[in-house]
């Protein structure tokens, strides 16, 4: 349970070792580069933007080639494969692959080129198919379309709108110019177009064309110098030629799928190099030396020092952070608590001077989550599924792994609460035994059944709430003490404890509480008096002290009164924990709705089938929706009620200079 202490490490070394030292730091991955030095005439930064850009481009090119390979030769990926995480690769294997990096990059380029060529060829085929389409009506013409005619005769091919017969055309022509002599042949006719050729004497050609145009005749859009049927054959042959080429391209790409692994490593290699050059560009360098400065977790400092000073001529200087410097935040927790780090990160990492509440929060998180879901069977299912996933995919990504671990623990807590409240798929045992075996049996609750005694659970929910909130206030007190703000500790924490405990002691023997709890608790008079005393002292203290930063006495009292009004905030915070009861009931009641529906088929084979179907569908739905509910509302209780008492967040995550790969991790000294 801690925020790791950070120190500033500055390394000054000779330029000849620059590459080696940078690579060493990158593979160790424990340093966040952060330079405070300005450029001056001795130390200048190198411009590495171009080199970096070319590495980024190479990595992108390999990525793209991999995408193309995935299209041509898909590797089957199961739904769960996203959990599998990155592969682990031996360093030697990586080296041998990278020795061929030029070759591999060529392959990547080649794959991209082939894909581009294929796209172009596809477009070509479409173009040719369009031409064939427009030639189709001319198939019956057995001369080339641009045939000019014989010595005395001219041929004019063309189209006319509408489906026309020879008679129509002749009569239209006769109306326009009665003395024109032409011979019309209809090649084919469609719904809205008629394809025809017109023959006439060469000397009449101009007049014939004029007349024809006036009755809607138009030259064909595509005129080829071949017999249409032959042209079509040729085009078809061309298409099949292109298709062969496409098949060849596809084969070549599929054959190069053996390079998939190499390409992945190549992409990673260039990605890592790009990052290295990014850092290189930030380093101040003189003629012979260079400087690196950044944050390193204190516990890693000696390791880095040793790794560098043993091998290279360099000076490693370690100093504490300055007062006003905001260090990046890296959390360190035990195995159980670290599973809740993701929840904390989602809210915000501890800001400057705040302590890491993950350990305390994780206990409450798991406890409250189980109380909300509270069904033994659901809990067991969640835990078993998460357990299997963790075992099956040991190299899962870190974020995913911690969430699944958290749900594993939450599942166990759910199992525990389910046993306490007697919920196993709701009331499935009772329903099945009653419907199918005639007499009702059930597993009795170890503690009590919330459906029968909701008020009891309501009281307990609020009790858990009070404990949770008081813990939050306690942490605030601890932080005040740690920062030696004793006045704040007394005024903002102790006085509030006094007021709240006093109010609680006054509330418990009252009639309202008795009617809710259905039992009356009587304290001895001394305790009652103590309660009253605590409440009064607390209230007066808060009234006087809350506005202590203000010199003006009237304003100070006003601020104190306003702060006292926060009692209502505490009341609503505690009432908010009634959701523990409500969500627990929701799980149980919906589960029994499912069981009830399933049992409507009665005691028969058909009834059993209906039951099994309803059971599987209904309970899957119920688990899903209530997991979501429990997750959301546990988060809310932590973020709003718990953190509201002491935590602000706003820290910046530690972002070390490391090998940020996408596909594979290279085996080496383990990182943090």
């Amino acid at each position: 349970m801690a925020v790791l202490q950070m120190q500033r490490m500055s390394i000054c070394a000779l330029k000849k070792d620059r590459k080696a030292i940078l690579e060493k730091l990158q593979s160790m991955g424990v340093m966040e580069i952060n330079h405070v030095l300005e450029e001056d005439e001795d130390f200048r930064r190198m411009d590495t933007a171009n080199a970096r850009l070319s590495f980024d481009k190479a990595a992108a090119s390999a990525d793209q080639a991999l995408d193309i390979l995935q299209q041509y030769a898909p590797v089957k990926q199961s739904l769960l494969s996203s959990l599998a995480g990155k592969d682990l690769i031996d360093k030697e294997r990586f080296q041998t692959v990278i020795e061929n990096k030029d070759e591999l990059l060529k392959t990547a380029k080649r794959i991209q080129m082939l894909d581009k060529e294929k796209a172009e060829l596809r477009a070509n085929i479409l173009k040719i198919e369009n031409s064939i389409e427009s030639l189709m009506p001319w198939q019956k013409l057995d001369v080339p379309m641009n045939f000019l005619g014989t010595a005395h005769m001219a041929m004019i091919p063309g189209t006319m709108p509408g489906m026309l017969t020879l008679e129509n055309i002749y009569s239209m022509l006769a109306q326009q110019s009665p003395d024109l002599e032409v011979d019309v042949h209809i090649i084919s006719a469609e719904q809205d177009t008629t394809y025809l050729t017109v023959f006439c004497l060469k000397k009449d050609a101009a007049q014939a064309e004029e007349t024809l145009r006036s009755i809607g005749f138009a030259k064909p859009s595509l005129i080829i110098d071949q017999v249409p049927s032959k042209a079509k054959e040729e085009m078809e042959a061309e298409i099949s030629g292109i298709q062969e080429r496409i098949a060849a391209i596809e084969k070549e790409v599929i054959d190069s799928a053996v390079n998939r692994e190499g390409l992945k490593l190549l992409a990673d290699y260039y990605r890592v190099r790009a990052e290295k050059y990014d850092v290189l560009g930030q380093l101040p360098q003189s003629e012979r030396t260079f400087l690196i400065s950044g944050y390193v977790p204190t516990k890693e400092v000696s390791k880095v020092q040793k790794a560098l000073t043993d091998k290279y001529d360099c000076v490693v200087d370690v100093e504490e952070l300055k007062e006003d410097e905001e260090a990046p935040v890296l959390l360190k927790n035990n195995k159980f608590a670290s599973s809740a780090e993701g929840i904390l990160e989602a809210f915000g990492l501890p800001g400057k001077g705040e302590l890491d509440p993950t350990a305390i929060m994780s206990v409450f998180y798991v406890f409250l989550f189980g109380l909300m879901l509270s069904d033994a069977a659901y809990g067991a299912i969640v835990s078993i599924v998460c357990g299997i996933l963790i075992l099956k995919f040991p190299r899962m990504g870190k974020g995913m792994k911690t969430s699944i671990q958290l749900f594993f623990w939450c599942g166990i807590s759910t199992l525990f609460w389910g046993i306490m409240f007697g919920g196993y798929f709701g009331d499935v045992i009772n329903v099945v035994s009653k419907t199918f075996f005639g007499h009702e049996v059930g597993i009795p609750a170890v503690w009590f059944v919330p459906l029968d005694e909701p008020m009891k659970l309501l009281i307990y929910s609020m009790l858990f709430g009070v404990i949770h909130l008081f813990t939050g206030l306690g942490i605030k007190g601890y932080m005040c003490l740690k920062d030696k703000k004793y006045m704040d500790f007394f005024c903002d924490v102790v006085l509030w404890y006094m007021l709240l405990v006093g109010l609680l002691i006054m509330l418990i023997p009252s009639d309202i509480f008795a009617s809710i709890a259905q039992t009356s608790i009587v304290f001895p008079p001394a305790v009652n008096a103590l309660g009253k005393g605590l409440a009064i002292v607390g209230a007066i203290g808060i009234l006087l002290m809350s506005g202590r930063a203000n010199k003006n006495f009237g304003l100070r009292i006003a601020l104190g009164a306003y702060d006292l009004y926060n009692v209502s905030g505490w009341l609503s915070d505690v009432l908010s924990y009634s959701r523990l009861l409500a969500l627990g009931l929701a799980t149980g009641v919906i589960a029994s709705v499912v069981n009830q529906m399933g049992s409507m088929g009665g005691k028969s084979v058909f009834g059993a089938i209906v039951f099994i179907f309803a059971f599987i569908v209904g309970h899957t739905f119920n688990i899903a929706i209530n997991l979501l509910g429990a997750y959301v509302h546990t988060n809310r209780l932590q973020y709003v009620e718990f953190f509201g008492k002491f935590y602000e967040g706003g820290g910046r995550a530690f972002n070390p200079f490391k090998e940020n790969t996408k596909y594979a991790d290279i085996k080496e000294e383990t990182n943090l």
Partner: protein, 158 residues
């Protein structure tokens, strides 16, 4: 006249289910439109926006819970309807009103909040924890209504 008691009770169950169900339907619908917009830009955010879209769906479930508890209370589920006086019937109807009305209004509002939270996911996907919190704030009131409806229905003697 005395037979009207069970009618009022059933009306109570109906009010709980249909008002809160309608609220959820409106809410999930609004959030779903926003979610579709985000997924059309970036399909990888599907899981996150789906969770946010589902958040206003719980009101309908709360209504279902009260409806179910009411039905089993008046014996309609077991086959033999209980004798319910008019007074008891109206009591049950009144007990069902909180989750019905609050479910309708909070479902709608939560839907709008969820749609806005989906906007957060579109721009800052890493702020999922905070985005989820805003719709959950609205839900609190549905939970409070559920509690009162549940406590009231289960306290009424038949």
């Amino acid at each position: 006249m005395s037979q009207l008691g069970i009618v009022y009770a059933l009306l109570g169950a109906a009010v709980a289910v249909f008002l809160s169900g309608a609220g959820s339907a409106l809410g999930v619908g609004v959030a779903g439109q926003a979610a579709s917009g985000v997924v059309s830009e970036d399909p990888s955010k599907f899981a996150k926006v789906l969770i946010l879209q589902l958040l206003p769906g719980t009101q309908g479930l709360y209504g279902l819970i009260i409806g179910f508890v009411t039905l089993s209370k008046i014996g309609l589920l077991g086959g033999g309807a209980a004798e319910v006086s008019v007074q008891t019937g109206l009591l049950i109807l009144a007990a069902c009103l909180p989750i019905g009305i609050v479910g309708l209004i909070s479902g709608r509002s939560q839907g709008k909040t969820a749609a806005a939270a989906i906007g957060i996911i579109a721009k800052k996907p890493d702020q999922f924890g905070k985005a989820m919190l805003f719709p959950a704030m609205v839900e609190t009131y549905a939970i409070l209504a559920l509690l009162i409806s549940f406590l009231a229905v289960s306290a009424i003697q038949i």
